[in-house]
């Protein structure tokens, strides 16, 4: 059974804190993604990675950074959390390119609240 796991389901942090969200996949996938989900806006891509130590900006990278030191692990970092980063964060992984039929597998999500 394929698995994408995220380190926390719920997280509460204070403004200005550094926040780490961890994602691990056990499918040996090349591609990994971080999205945030907000009501009415769907999922918006923050960053993605197509290989170890490689990263690409998505549509809303401001205020975020990422790290991919190992193939199975992709971390999202909020350098200085702000209240407008309160959201649901979803990690995903995929074997092949988006142009093909490969399924994108999602983790269960982390609901982050910044006070």
């Amino acid at each position: 059974d394929v698995k994408v796991t995220q380190s926390s389901r719920y997280l509460v942090k204070r403004t200005g804190e550094k926040v780490f969200l961890e994602c691990v996949q056990d499918m040996d996938h090349e591609n990994m993604f971080w999205y945030r989900q907000d009501p009415g806006l769907g999922l918006r891509l923050i960053y993605f990675s197509y290989d170890v130590k490689m990263k690409e900006k998505g549509d809303i990278p401001e205020g975020y950074s990422v790290s991919r030191e190992k193939k199975e692990r992709f971390s999202l970092i909020l350098e200085s959390a702000s209240t407008n980063q309160t959201s649901m964060y979803l990690c995903a992984s995929r074997a092949g390119e988006a142009l093909g039929p490969d399924t994108q597998y999602f983790g269960p999500g982390t609901r982050l609240t910044v006070l």
Binding site: F33, L43, F106, P108
Partner: protein, 110 residues
Amino acid sequence: GIQVEQSPPDLILQEGANSTLRCNFSDSVNNLQWFHQNPWGQLINLFYIPSGTKQNGRLSATTVATERYSLLYISSSQTTDSGVYFCAVVRKAAGNKLTFGGGTRVLVKP
């Protein structure tokens, strides 16, 4: 960038009813997928359907690429169909990433 609009935003159904969800996109696409997010937040891929029609049990989907829309049909709805349905598209020119619509929230009442 490409715009992806889903309608309706919310849908309430009685168990056993049929429904149609729509996804419009503003430019040609190379890939289109439908996802279901259950009430606990888990997203599952339903269809990979850049064109044509596919069926999987009570769900089916049709994409008319030339007219830039896709439809997801739910027949004989069940309470387990509740959740949010997303369509997502890929444009080769925009790189190797999915662009999601805003979703349709479906509630099936027993």
